[in-house]
């Protein structure tokens, strides 16, 4: 039963990952809140799951020539070095502290995306009104 629930829960995080919205930021809270998995195991599970998904997507994107390799080359070296160091550090930090830091991080990201969405909706409305006025003038 728990396996079935886990598959359903990870399906939800996969939906967001498929929409390009960072599935990991969902999988970690789901595993932690509903299944009582420790923060570090949540993180390692997410990293490996994403790695498999990313390899599949990478092949598709590479075939469609959508990857900017110059950017990848510049970003990959510092990010891999820092990612390795940060992972080693994360293992040494207590799971509770890690969980609080992660919670604060996703709240901040949430606020950022909320502001972005509200501003975009406002912009679209203004554009629509402008187009309507233009249309009425022509008429």
């Amino acid at each position: 039963m728990q396996i079935l629930l886990l598959i359903i829960a990870s399906t939800f995080s996969g939906i967001f990952a498929g929409m390009g919205m960072g599935g990991g930021t969902f999988l970690i809270p789901i595993l932690s809140l509903f299944f009582g998995v420790s923060q570090l195991i949540c993180q390692s599970t997410n990293v490996v799951c994403f790695l498999v998904l990313a390899i599949v997507c990478f092949v598709v994107y590479a075939k469609n020539k959508l990857i900017d390799y110059k950017v990848v080359l510049c970003v990959v070296f510092p990010s891999v070095i820092l990612s390795t160091v940060a992972s080693i550090f994360a293992i040494k930090v207590s799971s509770n502290i890690l969980q609080i830091c992660f919670s604060c991080f996703i709240i901040l990201i949430g606020i950022f995306y909320f502001i972005k969405a509200v501003l975009n909706i406002k912009k679209e409305k203004e554009k629509e009104e402008f187009e309507n006025r233009k249309y009425l003038k022509v008429k």
Partner: protein, 124 residues
Amino acid sequence: MENNGKVLDIFKFVGIGFLSGIINGFFGAGGGLLLVPMITFVAKDDSKKAHATTLACVMFMCLASSIIYLVKKQLNFKLILVCLIGSLIGALIGTKLLKNLKNNIIDLVFSLVLVVAGVCMIIF
């Protein structure tokens, strides 16, 4: 002048790499969420290209972190296998849903779920 701009861009990308590496390594997630807007802004790539480039970068970060977790014996293979099945099914649904939903609606739902999840994780 043009060369100066290119060198500056390289420095920006290296800086972006440092920041996303720290976040992705420490939290095991979130590197991509930072990279997409930053790459879009600096490289002025379109959204699809920025997403694809980000995915390639995060793939390498995840590979590095996975090796560390494997060496330090912090992997639960059963859990990974089950989550992987769900994630793959979800990703297929997600890519299809993306075509039918407005970006702003996705952003709104995403932001609200994140804030609620974050608050719940602190409280419980």
